[in-house]
Symmetry: C2
Subunit: 363 residues, 2 copies
């Protein structure tokens, strides 16, 4: 392995000079710098990470803690993780992957050993057990998500409340007055995961303000679960004309079930989703949706962290940053069908018909 000293000898300067060429912390004359650069290139020198971390007490590593349970929002999680890694590299940092399994102690470990300078936490619970650790010995940290009490913490998240409001607004604007919400699995609410509850609040508040009736049902993933929930919804509220879905695994089952029961989307029923753009666009009916800006979330988290790391004077990096949601109109939302009139049997409850289609699809 090539060391700083060898580079120095090769370039005919002292080790410290090479170091300063690399860090730019002191002025080095142009010819010298050129010479050193050439030697570095020629010898293929790479500074030793450990030695560097030891001497400077800066590891240039950010720890990223992803939840262990991969039962939720998986594509978004990975997208955020990749965005974090990419953004971190752009700032010269590397990313250490931590799973939730070790819990709060993992934070102490990587932080206390100087392995990581800072941490990014994903999938934050309203009352997260990792927060006390952060507030106490607090390594610099950014949460992706919003806990119940964000005081003193730095958080980035989508404004899910606004996202919920946006959905209702869109549907109400089209004329809908009865909306059903198909939510995340009950467990998600039980864990008090912030985004789910905030979305719900946004939905409810805006519904109340717009004279819209709202029905919310948590829902496990999978076809059968969705079928059950859907049946109950139509049972309780036969007049429901629009759905808001915040559960990636419920989307296709929902669309399939609507189709099978003869409800056309968007002619008979509108559907709006809160999910990754790609999923919305690829659904069997391209869905009007509020996207979860995974890339942006990851990038912002890193940017905030790095800013706090490089300028420790500006202590005001804490605080909550909520990204403004955007609703993309696709093919799944439209005005409610006209009220039932003679000769038009299909309004709230579509007609019963045979179940089978005939020719091959697309023909």
């Amino acid at each position: 392995m090539v060391t700083l000293a060898e580079v120095a000898r090769h370039a005919g300067v002292s080790a410290s000079t090479v170091s300063y060429v690399l860090s730019g912390k002191r002025p080095i004359s142009d010819p010298t710098r050129r010479r050193v650069r050439a030697s570095i290139e020629q010898l293929g020198y790479q500074p030793h990470a450990g030695a560097r971390a030891l001497a400077s007490s800066r590891s240039r590593i950010i720890a990223l803690m992803v939840p262990l349970r991969t039962d939720m929002y998986v594509p978004v999680m990975l997208e955020i993780a990749v965005a974090v890694a990419t953004a971190a590299r752009a700032h010269g940092y590397d990313v250490l992957l931590l799973t939730g399994e070790e819990g709060p102690s993992a934070l102490r470990r990587v932080t206390g050993s100087g392995l990581a300078e800072a941490v990014i936490l994903m999938d934050v619970q309203l009352d997260d057990e990792r927060l006390p650790v952060l507030r106490a010995a607090g390594p610099p940290a950014v949460l992706v998500g919003l806990p119940a009490d964000p005081a003193g913490l730095s958080c980035v998240d989508l404004d899910f409340t606004a996202a919920g409001a946006l959905c209702v607004e869109h549907l109400a604007g089209l004329g809908h007055r009865e909306i059903a919400v198909i939510g995340e699995a009950p467990g998600v609410y039980a864990r008090h995961t912030g985004f789910a509850e905030r979305t719900l609040r946004g939905l409810r508040d805006r519904a109340a303000g717009s004279g819209v009736r709202l029905l919310h049902r948590p829902c496990e993933g999978g076809h059968d679960a969705v079928a059950g929930v859907l049946a109950r919804i139509f049972d309780e509220r036969p007049g429901v004309g629009a759905f808001v879905v915040q559960n990636e695994t419920a989307i296709e089952p929902l669309l399939a079930l609507l189709r099978r029961t003869g409800r056309a989307v968007p002619e008979d029923v509108s559907v709006v989703a809160v999910c990754a753009d790609q999923i919305a666009a690829q659904a069997s009916v391209p869905l009007t949706s509020v996207a979860i800006p995974a890339q942006e979330l990851g990038r912002r988290a890193v940017d905030r962290l790095v800013e706090g790391l490089t300028r420790p004077d500006a202590e005001d990096t804490s605080g909550v940053e909520l990204l403004t949601p955007a609703l993309t109109v696709r093919d799944s939302s439209g005005p409610p069908p006209p009220p039932a009139r003679p000769g038009n049997p299909r309004s709230a409850a579509p007609p019963h018909g045979a179940r089978a289609g005939s020719h091959p699809p697309g023909s």
Copy 2:
């Protein structure tokens, strides 16, 4: 920050003694060890990662390179990544997250700087540009996936050839003689991603050996693409009675389209998938499937790596390890329908019928 020296002073021993207590590389008397342990505990000592890496030239970090494009197999990717992180921790290693973006140079960087001791590569192409780097200056590495020429490399993967064979075997055993394969996006084959081609080979070989006609069609994700592919398949081979799907985004669209065209699964058409178990189980028809053992893959990769790292004498850690696939029978596969006879209009081409269903689902 607490240092080794402070612990030593507190325990009344020398620094080296503390070090040996920690590493166990030399015998330490019981009372001393106890005393040192107590001091460590009391002071909350944590060894400095950088210093340790410098002195021992072992960073206890494994780099994990995930592909940048997150357009494929996302859930599996994340599951493997998490499994790798978990397994690595069990061996006392941490995991550094690298994206494919930086390409081969990222390998040189983390490896040359001593940041990571070894690497795990995911999403390996048949002719991967990262392989030369590995073969040349070769840091210890394990590939998850199988390149064209695995000579001198350590690889772990599912035996996709066997997986393909297993699918055909299962369907042929049920009596099917015409099978259509809905594959990954054309781009995946164009990139020569090993697993896709190997699965295909397994399918074809076994089909040839079992007197089964096979039709393979790559397929983009999303409803429309699947519709097009499906139409072409039925056009060319009206007698197709079974599908093998290796494309997570095509599964639900396929099921939906089959339903819509009046083909019941498994009565009229059988479907077998190669995908994550969870997806197969949660599909609108629980799918008979060959699972991709993500956890196992991640764990094996780490185990191999750690073994090679701790016992450098046994140089035989290279070589290919293919996990044996297992087929789980669920609800989507069954014998083909009896040949058409008078009064039974539905055989290869189901009857044309009205499109709408009537009552709410589940009622």
